[in-house]
């Protein structure tokens, strides 16, 4: 949101007339909500001043219309949720800016895939949240998971006065402690969450195209068309199957988000396919390389799915088809 700076000015001048409820607005809520009281209270004058200060401000700010609804219940409800990346206000800016922002978004997500370990803490956090959620909603959870989670809490009860209290503090889920941890957690990883929960299909589209083109070019002439169309449709049909599978298994992850996550995790394999078709001709080296790259893809896929919220106890079932798809694609690279 680029209009934040200009509209903050207005809200500062206005605050003596109208008391904005900014204390209750959570940290990473939409900045548009800060701008809302200005345009609603000031009417025409405020609108005109913001119009002259910057041309990037939207002329009609619909978020003020939603303000009364958003204020009623606790606003903390809608802080973090997965959504399609909309890119903000793109009407008045050069095309190059729009493209660059989209490319930067894709680049950030690829960076997460390349170095997936940064999602580790986020994933474990989300999983423990989901276990709480499932318990309080009466969903069956395998005993093994519950036992592994029960252990730290039980140890804490036994050894309240001992040294490892700090360590246990981190793991038990008392309400206020959980809340404190949440605030710190959201401060550090808010950007990560945002990058991970936004979904788009640009990355999967680009990756599947690159993959099928490189395989099609590398295959013998009689099969080029067939291999290209076959692999391209295979990737997308398999992605649909994966998305449906995750939806049916449950959890709170959307269809498109699952496809996006599995598509972005394809990146190491795409690199492998380029290397195989252009440089490396020896099949044993290809095999070793593709095994490593497949493991990499699967690892990053597992982590991003865990962050997005597959029900614990079903993560293996949800990830297995993705692993299968990566294995098929990797093997096709090897034998081409």
């Amino acid at each position: 949101m680029s209009n934040n700076s200009s509209s903050n000015l207005n809200s500062n001048t206005n605050s003596q007339y109208i008391q904005p409820d900014t204390e209750e607005v959570p940290i990473n809520s939409k900045p548009a909500e800060n701008a809302a009281p200005s345009s609603s209270g000031n009417g025409a004058a405020g609108g005109a001043s913001s119009f002259f200060t910057s041309f990037t401000t939207p002329k009609v700010d619909l978020s003020s219309a939603f303000k009364p609804f958003a204020q009623n219940a606790s606003t903390g409800n809608n802080k973090v949720k997965e959504r399609q990346y909309t890119g903000g206000d793109t009407l008045d800016e050069p095309v190059w800016h729009t493209l660059r922002r989209d490319l930067a978004q894709i680049g950030k997500r690829v960076a997460i895939v390349v170095w997936p370990i940064q999602l580790q803490s986020l994933a474990s956090k989300q999983q423990s949240r989901l276990i709480d959620f499932a318990q309080s909603n009466g969903v069956q959870i395998p005993d093994s998971i519950l036992n592994s989670r029960m252990r730290p809490a039980g140890r804490n009860n036994n050894s309240n006065g001992s040294n490892n209290f700090d360590e246990d503090d981190f793991e038990i889920n008392d309400e206020d402690e959980d809340e404190e941890a949440n605030v710190a957690f959201e401060d550090t990883t808010a950007a990560l969450i945002k990058n991970n929960l936004d979904w788009d299909l640009w990355g999967p589209l680009i990756f599947s195209l690159v993959y099928s083109v490189s395989l099609g070019l590398a295959s013998p002439n009689s099969q080029t068309n067939q291999v290209f169309s076959g692999t391209f449709s295979f990737i997308w049909l398999f992605s649909l199957a994966i998305g449906l599978n995750i939806q049916l298994l449950g959890g709170n992850i959307s269809f498109m988000s699952a496809i996006s996550a599995s598509g972005y995790s394809l990146f190491p394999i795409v690199v492998g396919s380029l290397l195989c078709s252009l440089i490396i001709k020896w099949k044993l080296i290809r095999l070793a390389m593709m095994v490593v790259l497949c493991a990499w893809s699967i690892y990053s896929g597992v982590l991003s799915l865990k962050c997005s919220g597959v029900l614990p106890g079903r993560v293996l079932l949800a990830i297995y088809p993705i692993g299968l798809m990566y294995a098929v694609l990797g093997w096709l690279c090897v034998i081409t």
Partner: protein, 313 residues
Amino acid sequence: MSYSKVNQGHNTSLIDQDDDLISQDNITAQPYIVPDIEPDTKPAAGINGGGSGTGSTQGNPPVIKPQVPINSSNSHVFQINFYRQFFDLDTDTFIHKIQRALNPFNNAFSEGEENHITELYGFIWITGTLIFLMFVSSTGSNIISSWIHGGNSTEGGETKQYEYKFDLLRLSIALFYGYNLFIPAGLYVITSWILKFPHRLVFTEIISIYGYTNILWVPITFINFIIAILVNNQKHGRIANILEWVIVLLSGAITGASNIMKISPIIEKNSLILQEGNPDVNAKRLQLGLLSVLIVCHLAFTIVVKICFFGLQ
């Protein structure tokens, strides 16, 4: 989904574009919104462990419902919630089922209570895995044999490299999914609508039986590699061919036996009941007829598998 609109009020229905999602933060925000919850319900549910489904659901107001098949029986066929009942499965259950399916001669499938719904996850993904493994085995063994044994065989001045056929992948997908889907469908149609069995076979259960049996095909994919390494396909093509026939027919027999073992008790029970109701029906002949049709189909399938993946030569 209508429940999220009803339960979360008008604020979220305006902000949430997609009602299907549950916003992530509800999970932690829930104890603060909902005043009815006692603060000690959550630890109690945690200590209870596996039996948490009974205690905590009662006093729990419907804030958000998980997308898990709690009540999918009253949803429509065209809603995704309807199909969630076929995917109600945990990892532990799945592994247990696979272990049970590894033994071809137990008929634990037939002991379930009547009309219970069997999940389809196993059918879909075990069959998919099998297709992948067969493809890998077929192409990989060809590559290995041309690499180990075929280095000195020249045709037209240059060494002939093995080129895989992409068609094989499509063909195998059609073959395995088709067989494992259409034979149970045919069996279901014949038994429930033509023969009118009093205790109907459950369609998903037959599919699931066929799907889990596919695990027993997996060993031949590894044996095939060993054959490709040990036997020179160019010099001793006949020996390799015979060995391939043997392993394919053997695993075909094992999988067929496994299917028959699991299906025959239900057919036997039904045909006996039919015989009691109508003296014209010969239970023994009916049962044998059905089973022999299944066996013939499986034999044909086995031969097609051999021809597709290993060639006729």
